[in-house]
């Protein structure tokens, strides 16, 4: 499983922060446990080379890209196979981009290297619109062998639906990007109810702390554009498993704890998610049969600056979940003994204004079950009086093999149907 943020800016974008220079961006991406980022500055790819070099040094995959503004003022991401094609597309875009930047009005457009040194300032009006319409931009991206993704379709300004009312018929987009503003289940219902387009979650980060704020989880062989292309087209077993806000969504906190357990050697996990709006209570419980922790390891696990691994993929671990529970009038309890497994129980006040959203359970289950097809994973989600239960043993008994494309599709269908059967509260939980 790989975690991608397919839309980040650098200090080249006039609206981005100066401290978003190539190495700072890469450091932020590594901190957010991302496997890959796509560098998409407005109408330019001039910082891509430096981000690529910084990424190589840090073991982060970097996909060259650009966020192109169409004549209709629609933002479209071009994700490109290599630097050369990005620069080729860039020269085409520059020819169609009128105006010069006014730094005092729009901001600085800093070309920087991977050592945080300023190499110069881009003089094009990168904040402006090209004279190319959306069809021409999608065609130009495809001619450069790239993927065309409509940016932040859930945003009115510069989103394709906001600007053009609907996605133009016949426009050959490879996917739609959903911003952090819209939870994935809502985005699916609104933008791809019949799976018309694959959906990517991305941060659109303009400053380091936002990198990875939203991300997409992908089932790939390696974090490359070629593999992403296969996942968007659901080819050769590659797939989009889901997405969301790794540092916020409770579903992704659950995923993080479960992943930690599995990485530590657990072979059985039981996850309980209890939503009880009437009792103003939300409980997350994760139990594993892993090696367990002694009191010292337990203390370290709760320390935000401590980790035994350098490759944890999801979330920021136990300290962040503990903080999320406390912020919502609850707490996190951990029981663990060496040789006896561990038990994590986080409680929240359901209606507390600071209670984080549950997020997309489908993503959590897809990543766990598709990523660990041989382990025993049991999930139980109750909401009011309804319950959705899923056990990987039952799936195996029914012949559903998530390592095969059909099995993956069946798994997704099973989860979607199960989650859809739970009665969503009519009142948004964040209302006090």
């Amino acid at each position: 499983m790989f975690m991608f943020d397919t839309h980040v800016h650098t200090c080249l974008s006039p609206c981005a922060e100066l401290d978003m220079h190539p190495s700072a961006l890469v450091a932020a991406a590594v901190r957010a446990r991302l496997d890959a980022i796509a560098v998409c500055d407005h109408n330019s790819a001039e910082n891509v080379a430096a981000v690529e070099r910084a990424g190589r040094a840090a073991g982060l995959a970097v996909i060259p890209g650009m966020e192109i503004t169409s004549a209709e003022e629609v933002h479209i991401l071009g994700l490109l196979p290599d630097l050369e094609s990005a620069l080729e597309l860039q020269s085409r875009i520059y020819r169609a981009l009128p105006g010069r930047n006014q730094e005092d009005v729009f901001g600085l457009q800093v070309v920087a290297n991977e050592h945080a040194q300023v190499l110069g300032f881009n003089e094009h009006l990168l904040a402006g619109a090209t004279t190319l319409d959306v069809d021409r931009i999608v065609a130009a991206i495809h001619e450069a062998h790239g993927l065309a993704v409509a940016s932040h379709v859930d945003r009115e300004s510069f989103g394709i639906i906001g600007q053009l009312g609907m996605i133009p018929a016949g426009l050959a987009l490879d996917g739609l990007e959903v911003s952090h503003r819209t939870p994935l289940p809502a985005a699916r219902a609104a933008f791809a109810p019949r799976g018309e387009f694959p959906l990517l979650c991305a941060s659109d980060a303009h400053e380091p702390r936002d990198v990875g704020m939203a991300a997409t989880f992908l089932l790939l062989e390696e974090p490359t554009l070629a593999e992403l292309r296969r996942a968007l087209a659901s080819q050769e077993g590659r797939a989009i498993l889901g997405g969301g806000k790794p540092m916020e969504d409770l579903a992704l906190h659950i995923l993080d704890i479960a992943q930690n357990s599995l990485e530590a050697g657990a072979t059985e996990i039981a996850i309980d998610l209890l939503e009880d709006p009437a009792a103003d209570r939300l409980v997350i419980e994760v139990r594993d049969n892993g090696p367990g922790m002694d009191s010292k390891a337990l203390a370290q696990a709760s320390d935000p600056f401590y980790t035994t691994r350098t490759t944890r993929k999801v979330g920021l671990g136990i300290p962040l979940l503990s903080e999320a529970a406390r912020a919502a009038g609850g707490r996190l309890e951990i029981e663990s003994k060496p040789g006896e497994g561990s038990r994590f129980k986080a409680t929240f006040r359901y209606r507390h204004i600071d209670r984080a959203p549950v997020g997309d359970i489908e993503t959590t289950l897809m990543v766990l079950l598709a990523g660990h097809p041989d382990l025993n994973i049991r999930f139980r989600h109750s909401l009011g009086r309804e319950v959705f239960e899923l056990d990987s043993r039952d799936l195996r008994a029914a012949g559903i093999d998530p390592t095969l494309p059909e099995g993956l599709a069946l798994l997704r269908e099973t989860i979607r149907r199960g989650e859809a059967g739970l009665p969503r509260p009519a009142v948004p939980p964040k209302v006090l």
Partner: protein
């Protein structure tokens, strides 16, 4: 006032669906966000915009608008021309900017209509 009369007042030329320009203009709406036009325009409105993407015809048809005014000398895309003819949506192209177009139409008694 008809669409054809409006075209004359704003020094524009009707470039599609001339026959449909006898339609009565019952109000006006100005916006370049098509989602906004879909949400807030009313049937019979003359719509003033910069956008020339083919989706403008779909929006005008969906909302039953009287016609579309393209400002600043903008001409519709080829696809928009074809679709507008097919759907009988008159498109007026004028060299005037949107501010002047709206001012002239307002002076002629065309009003925005907030659908309650």
């Amino acid at each position: 006032m008809t669409v054809a009369e409006a075209a004359q007042k704003i020094r524009g030329s009707i470039i599609t669906a001339v026959k449909a320009a006898t339609r009565e203009v019952r109000g006006g709406y100005a916006s370049d966000l098509l989602s906004d036009v879909m949400g807030n325009s009313s049937e019979g409105d003359l719509w003033v915009t910069m956008q020339k993407h083919v989706n403008i015809v779909a929006v005008a048809q969906l909302k039953g608008l009287a016609g579309i005014v393209l400002v600043n000398g903008r001409r519709p895309d080829e696809a928009s021309l074809v679709r507008a003819e097919e759907e009988h949506i008159p498109i007026i192209s004028t060299d005037l900017p949107a501010f002047d177009v709206v001012g002239i139409l307002y002076g002629q008694g065309v009003r925005g209509r907030r659908s309650a």
